[in-house]
């Protein structure tokens, strides 16, 4: 068998790029939040320093094998998600494994990480973690419904479940799916708010109430790995949405612009809004976003 070096290099550098981009986005989010709240905020590199610091600390304790593997599980899932998404259009280097998976696979692998983290959090025995997990899974059922509706609408419109085919049909500005199926985009972007976990959907982590929920017993290298995973996953989700609705990107400059603009949507909505209770957020997702999803499907199906 011939070894495809380009592919291997792509597989290695993609997670690294994702990590740095995701971390810097997180840092800039802290900055923007601070400015809106009339503070100065930390430097943009702060999240990167935090993660470095966490890795350099030596953990003296662990809560058992499931907690030990919880963060591993999360980072496996987020990196796998990333590797099955084409990062750039028509790029041999960044196509990665996207031809061996499809949208339904991505839907499931995206949950894989939450499940692992939930299991890890479960073993710590902290009641706050369990409460956070209960809320998180409940909210998951909420936003997955409009999200799958948006995806089904896209799948039936273009008769494919592969992301590369979806990219291929969005060949010009007006062919972007945001214009071709606006209702699917609405449903998906509202679900995206829930996915990103900013306000009003941050009751899962609710720092002041349940001590940041699921990861509350994680520290040192475990927390570091979780933050790494979160950065990678954020970038993966942003690229996924860019590929789905914004026509992908030809180079990294365009990718950064598009993903950063997408990232601003949940962030800016989150800064000016208070928090939903869990049942309120589930009901929110089952009302308008689901209605948009149904409209999107009806339009393309009939």
């Amino acid at each position: 068998m011939e070894i495809n070096w380009i592919k291997i290099i792509g597989l290695i550098i993609t997670p690294i790029i994702a990590f740095f981009t995701g971390t810097l986005y997180g840092g800039s989010a802290r900055n923007i939040t601070a400015r809106i709240q009339n503070r100065y905020g930390p430097p943009i590199w702060q999240n990167l320093f935090d993660i470095m610091k966490l890795y350099s600390k030596s953990s003296t304790i662990h809560h058992g094998v499931m907690q030990h593997l919880g963060a591993v599980w999360a980072i496996t899932a987020s990196t796998t998600t990333l590797l099955f998404i084409p990062i750039l259009r028509d790029s041999e280097l960044f196509v990665n494994l996207s031809f061996d998976g499809d949208l339904i696979f991505l839907l499931y692998i995206m949950v894989f990480g939450s499940l692992g983290m939930a299991l890890g959090a479960g073993q710590t025995g902290n009641p706050n973690s369990a409460i956070g997990v209960s809320r998180g899974l409940t909210q998951l059922v909420g936003y997955k419904v409009p999200f799958i509706m948006a995806l089904v609408a896209l799948m039936i419109q273009f008769k494919t479940t592969n992301l590369n085919d979806l990219l291929a049909v969005q060949d010009s500005f007006l062919n972007w799916n945001i214009f071709q199926s606006p209702f699917a985009f609405l449903a998906a972007i509202l679900a995206f708010l829930g996915m990103m976990g900013y306000k009003p959907f941050d009751i899962v982590f609710a720092p002041a109430e349940i001590a940041s929920g699921p990861p509350s017993e994680f520290g040192g290298k475990y927390l570091g790995m979780m933050q790494t995973s979160r950065s990678i996953f954020t970038f993966a989700k942003l690229v996924l949405f860019t590929d789905l609705f914004l026509g992908g990107a030809e180079n990294f400059f365009i990718l950064i612009i598009k993903t950063y603009l997408l990232y601003m949507i949940p962030l800016l909505i989150g800064i000016v809004n208070p928090r939903f209770r869990t049942e309120q957020s589930v009901r929110f997702f089952w009302k308008w976003p689901t209605a948009f999803g149904i409209i999107a499907i009806l339009i393309v199906a009939y």
């Binding site: 890795y55 953990s59 304790i61 662990h62 809560h63 094998v65 963060a71 591993v72 980072i75 496996t76 899932a77 990196t79 099955f84 494994l97 061996d100 998976g101 499809d102 339904i104 696979f105 499931y108 692998i109 949950v111 894989f112 499940l115 939930a118 299991l119 479960g122 073993q123 710590t124 025995g125 902290n126 009641p127 706050n128 369990a130 209960s134 899974l137 409940t138 998951l140 059922v141 909420g142 997955k144 419904v145 799958i148 089904v152 039936i156 479940t161 592969n162 001590a211 017993e217 290298k221 475990y222 790995m225 209770r277 869990t278 049942e279 589930v282 009901r283 999803g293 499907i297 199906a301």
Partner: protein, 616 residues
């Protein structure tokens, strides 16, 4: 001895023998029972496909037994699950009372199932169906007095199912003149429309009861919960699949020839999807681990029914794939719950907690089991779910796929609760001396979950026999390779790449986090935590397990308030009252009866012209 007679003969003979041996040499019994199931399993494996292996006349009926690729698929499931559940019960049932009774009925149930899959005529199918129902009823009421009302409910519904099959059998015999499958299948198209429809509906009710399709499911949660764990594994894993076998035959061999096929398909697909969704919601709010798994079984059967009903090549592949796989992982999960019960004497999720360090192998089983149920890659559940979704989207069932997907996502809730309440969370003093179960119980469950992993990475292994089974049903399967599954649009997933990606990343990350600061790692108990700055005391209960999904309950509002069970109970109560009034007609007084006769005659004379068209 490689024949169906051998399989049935050995199973039923061992059943009787195990009852007798119980009084003579109990120790020999386990060995003989397990050996017998292993030998029959080997015969099933070696059995050549021959649809008319044995034929003989029984009165007016021609009895035909034989094996087809379709029946082989189910027979192998029975053989494997039968062997593992019996191996498991040899330890699990140790020291219980009435073991002769238990093993006899267990083997009768296995024999009944073998009979069903190898029957090629309706009479023997009905006969073996009754054997299976009776023996499973006996095992449902095995455990305690408490089981009797539950057993009664199971029995009433099974009777409804059995009578439906019986009436359909008679209708077919009257209209076709034969009970052999081969004749029925070829001449079903010639029967009049109304009869066709009633036969199909009756048969679907009959088979639907066993696979617990809503609204015929009400017996299942109770019966699955109360029967002994090894049997529950077989009950949910194999016995409920007999309904699937029957529904497959009815849909593709009978209904496909009629004009209403498309409607039956659509209605059944929706029934399956709604079953899946509602059963999942019910499962989320259970407090008993076995009851949770029971509802989960109903939901999974819902997917299978939907897949069968859609009737495209990919959806049938998905349905049969899930049928086999559900047999494996749900049996493993019931065994894991049984293992917890074996050591702690409880399956109450509000009570149990923190068993992971005491029962690591059982935890591993439960973990892989829930991953397989939830359909997260790389385990087998994913390949099955993927095919199901793709087939629904390809065949333009867009809203069906949403319902199925919603139920599949909601399944994470109960699955997490299951594993969290039993194995994770705080470790309590009362479970300090709990030990892992013996190897003879571990091997069956671990083998079954490893099977789900192997099939998950190489779905082609299982799709090979499935595609021959589909050829018997008259449907050509879609192309596939050992590790690659393809949908109707030509999109594919490669399970091998997925497995590699997950595996490599997991190993790298796990090695990193383990090696980093390895010497310093020390285990601290789950009490050694902070909760908002407070240090919990020795006896403080910090487990968050009761009403775990209260927010979800609130979000759903009153959706789950109306209950099918209550509807049946109200109907039963109303009928009872009605019959109570009717009782007054029978006064027991001779004069009243004489008056009835006179009244009847008067009515006859007055209305005779109207009724018979003749004046008396």
């Amino acid at each position: 001895m490689i024949s169906i007679i051998g399989i049935l003969g050995i199973t039923f003979a061992t059943a009787v023998l195990s009852f007798l041996l119980h009084h003579l040499i109990p120790k020999l019994r386990n060995i003989i029972v397990i050996l017998a199931v292993a030998i029959t399993g080997y015969i099933v494996w070696q059995l050549p496909a021959n649809p008319t292996e044995i034929t003989f006349a029984l009165g007016d009926f021609n009895i035909v037994w034989g094996s087809t690729a379709y029946s082989q698929l189910f027979a192998l499931l029975i053989a494997v699950l039968g062997f593992f559940t019996l191996l498991y019960s040899s330890e699990f049932m140790k020291g219980r009372k009435r073991l002769g009774y238990f093993y006899m009925n267990f083997l009768f149930a296995i024999g009944g199932m073998y009979g069903i899959v190898y029957s090629q005529d309706l009479v023997s199918l009905f006969f073996f169906w009754e054997i299976m129902t009776w023996s499973s009823f006996m095992l449902v009421i095995y455990s305690s007095k408490k089981a009797q009302p539950i057993g009664l409910k199971y029995f009433v519904f099974s009777a409804i199912g059995a009578y439906s099959i019986l009436i359909a059998l008679l209708l077919l015999y009257v209209n076709v003149g034969s009970v052999e499958f081969s004749k029925i299948f070829t001449s079903f198209g010639n029967i009049s429309f109304a009869v066709q429809l009633s036969i199909v509906i009756l048969l679907l009710i009959g088979f639907g009861v066993k696979s617990a399709v809503m609204p015929l499911h009400v017996w299942a949660p109770g019966a699955y919960t109360i029967s002994p764990s090894p049997f529950t594994a077989l009950f949910s894993g194999a016995l409920s699949k007999m309904g699937v076998l029957g529904i497959g035959l009815v849909l593709f061999k009978l209904a496909a020839q009629s004009g209403f096929y498309i409607y039956v398909k659509e209605i059944l697909a929706w029934i399956g999807a709604i079953t899946a969704l509602l059963a999942t919601f019910y499962a989320i709010f259970q407090t008993d681990a076995k009851k949770l798994l029971a509802y989960s079984s109903i939901a999974q059967l819902g997917y299978i029914i939907t897949g069968l009903a859609i009737g495209t090549p990919l959806s049938i592949m998905a349905a049969l794939f899930l049928t086999i796989l559900h047999g494996a992982f749900k049996a493993a999960l019931f065994m894991a719950t049984g293992a917890v019960f074996y050591r702690t004497g409880s399956t109450d999720m509000n009570e149990l907690t923190g068993l992971i360090r005491k029962m690591p192998y059982t935890f591993l089983t439960a973990l892989m089991g829930i991953i397989a149920v939830s359909g997260v890659p790389p385990l087998g559940g994913f390949a099955g779910k993927w095919m199901l979704y793709q087939s629904l989207i390809n065949s333009e069932h867009y809203f069906l796929v949403i319902v199925i997907f919603a139920s599949s996502t909601a399944a994470f809730l109960y699955l997490y609760r299951f594993i969290f309440s039993l194995f994770l969370g705080q470790e309590e003093k009362e479970y300090d001396d709990v030990k892992e179960v013996p190897w003879i119980m571990r091997i069956p469950m671990l083998t079954l979950v490893i099977f789900t992993l192997v099939v998950g990475v190489m779905p082609g292994l299982l799709l090979e026999p499935i595609s021959s089974a589909m050829a018997y049903l008259g449907v050509q399967s879609l192309g596939f390779e050992t590790t690659v599954v393809v949908n109707g649009w030509g999109n594919q997933i490669d399970m091998f790449t997925i497995m590699n990606s997950i595996g490599v990343l997991f190993v790298i990350a796990a090695s990193f986090i383990t090696i980093k600061g390895f010497k310093n790692g020390r285990y601290v108990t789950t009490k050694d935590i902070h909760t908002s700055g407070e240090v919990p005391t020795e006896n403080e209960n910090l487990t968050y397990a009761v009403d775990f999904y209260k927010p979800f309950e609130r979000a759903l509002g009153g959706v789950l308030k109306p209950s099918i069970d209550r509807f049946y109970k109200t109907t039963a109560a109303t009928l009872e009252e009605l019959f109570d009034h009717l009782r007054y007609i029978y006064t027991g007084n001779g004069q009243t009866y004489a008056m009835y006769v006179v009244l009847f005659l008067v009515i006859l004379i007055v209305f005779s012209e109207m009724i018979f068209g003749v004046k008396l």
